[in-house]
């Protein structure tokens, strides 16, 4: 057995197992999402991937982020995606006609970017495995009241960026209404 994995199991037991299980679900669902030809199936796999990601957040003890991940992405945004796809009413033959553009150059670039990002992730995460497992599996101080831990900095230290984001969202809403309603 790998020493790292052994340490994780020894110290964090269930957490480590849950972490790797959620990671496997997330990655497998993400791959299936890309591979499925039926767009509705893709949406459902992406939802499962988001739920797996939320599971990873739970094992890292950031419940708030996990719940928001499910609530906003899986529960709201993906429902709208599904809605639009259903209303587009793509037929099977239309889907079959769609093929990836055969540009070898694009494939090469995508492969290079993929390996660079994997390399960077591995490089960045190596020191973390030398830390004690408790530190790896989330800060206990944050776990007590994760809402307060996020809310107070958000509304004091980061108030200006937060408000600017909300104005941006407002602009997007107004834009969407202006686009769909011809006569206001």
């Amino acid at each position: 057995m790998e020493p790292i994995f052994h340490d994780l199991l020894a110290a964090g037991g269930g957490h480590a197992v849950a972490f790797y299980a959620c990671s496997a679900v997330t990655i497998a669902a993400a791959i299936l999402m890309v591979m499925k030809k039926n767009p509705v199936a893709s949406v459902m796999w992406l939802v499962l991937s988001f739920i797996g990601l939320a599971g990873i957040y739970v094992t890292l003890q950031s419940y708030f982020i996990a719940v928001i991940q499910v609530l906003v992405y899986a529960g709201a945004i993906m429902v709208l995606f599904l809605f639009v796809i259903m209303l587009l009413n793509l037929r099977r033959e239309d889907i079959a006609k769609m093929e990836l553009p055969k540009v070898p150059f694009a494939g090469v670039i995508a492969a290079i970017l993929f390996f660079v990002s994997v390399f960077l992730v591995i490089k960045a995460s190596t020191p973390a495995f030398e830390k004690p497992v408790d530190a790896l599996l989330g800060e206990p101080a944050l776990a007590g009241d994760s809402v307060r831990a996020i809310g107070i900095p958000l509304f004091s230290q980061w108030l200006l960026p937060f408000e600017i984001t909300s104005v941006l969202l407002l602009a997007a809403i107004v834009g969407a209404v202006a686009l769909t309603k011809k006569k206001l």
Partner: protein
């Protein structure tokens, strides 16, 4: 080995008990719905199977099990099969964070209510996917209607409870329960008389929020007056037109499971949860039993209200439903948050 007992054993037993009690309550509700409907329409209702007809749900379930499980040839099979389960699941899962007693809670999360909203936001997939996978016009229209309705009213549901959490200063449901019924704080004084205790329930401190939550709750569970997803005269049976046998039963029972989960949330947030002005401590070391009973009585009273409304009020038209959701309930919900903040400053609650 403490790990296996404390982290695996006890939670598993609690989950087993709560999930099964919830399913029993679903069966009871199906019976109650038919009996109350009969009462309201001056009929007898099912009264032959067992005492008072109480075993009627058992007979119904056996019938549904034995029926042919027909999967039409034109459906999208994998989605057609998982869709009914996707409807039932969220309602049962959201019971995980509901406190049924002082220590009777599966997961005492500090984000309790957000967990419920996150899980119940997934309920919409069961109906959407079911309607789409059926490959029939009635089903698709029913599914799409229901999706639009549920996402519209989910926003209202979320806004209506914010007032409660402004008062409790915590998202943990156990804190919300304990905050109610111990006497109201007004202008820095603690009134612990019986009136003070009654007025401490959130239904009196958040009346607007309570009404909004109930309306949105009816819409979220697809109950009359918001059951447009299955409006017979327009859409046959809506999203579940093509489903038969246990797949239909899962949709049918899923509605009742959702009623129980919305009811349990309402009891916890607005009606004092498992407390009843000191009565919850009755019975010494068996007080947990009293607490469950208190919770069950409140929950059943609320379910009676749900059924009562269904057999009294006619269905909305679809444009009325959307107008009510977006142009009436949403602004009121936002105003309620502002009002709560202002009143909180004035009364120093």
């Amino acid at each position: 080995m403490d790990f296996w007992i404390d982290d695996i054993g006890w939670p598993f037993i609690k989950i087993f008990i709560i999930a099964n009690v919830a399913l029993m309550m679903v069966a009871l509700l199906v019976w109650a719905e038919r009996r109350v409907a009969a009462l309201i329409q001056d009929r007898l209702g099912p009264n032959r199977v067992g005492p008072l007809g109480l075993l009627q749900p058992v007979a119904d379930v056996i019938k549904l099990f034995l029926k042919e499980d027909l999967t039409p040839g034109h459906v999208n099979r994998p989605f057609f099969i998982i869709a009914p389960a996707l409807t039932m699941m969220p309602a049962i899962i959201s019971l995980a964070v509901i406190p049924f007693g002082a220590s009777l809670i599966i997961a005492d999360l500090d984000i309790g209510i957000l967990f419920i909203f996150a899980i119940s936001s997934l309920a919409v997939y069961g109906i959407t996917i079911g309607g789409w996978a059926s490959n029939s016009k009635y089903s698709l229209l029913g599914g799409i209607r229901s999706t639009a309705q549920m996402i519209s009213y989910e926003i209202c549901l979320g806004l209506s409870v914010i007032g409660v959490f402004m008062l409790s200063k915590s998202l943990r449901l156990q804190d919300v329960v304990l905050m109610q019924g111990d006497g109201i704080w007004l202008f820095g004084e603690h009134y612990t008389g019986i009136m003070g205790k009654i007025l401490d329930w959130n239904i009196f401190k958040q009346p607007i929020g309570f009404i909004l939550f109930m309306i949105a709750g009816f819409a979220e569970t697809n109950r009359t007056p918001f059951d447009l997803a299955e409006a017979e005269q327009e859409l046959a049976a809506g999203f579940h037109t093509e489903f038969s046998s246990m797949k239909f039963a899962l949709y049918f029972l899923g509605e009742y499971a959702a009623m129980i989960s919305i009811g349990a949330i309402t009891v916890t947030l607005y009606l004092g949860g498992w407390t009843f002005f000191g009565l919850e401590n009755l019975g010494g070391s068996f007080s947990w039993l009293t607490q469950i009973l208190i919770f069950a009585v409140k929950l059943l009273a609320l379910q009676f209200f749900f059924i009562w409304v269904r057999w009294t009020i006619p269905r909305f038209r679809y444009d009325q439903l959307m107008r009510l959701g977006w142009q009436v309930l949403l602004p009121i919900g936002l105003a309620n948050i502002l009002l709560t903040g202002v009143l909180k400053l004035i009364f120093k609650v």
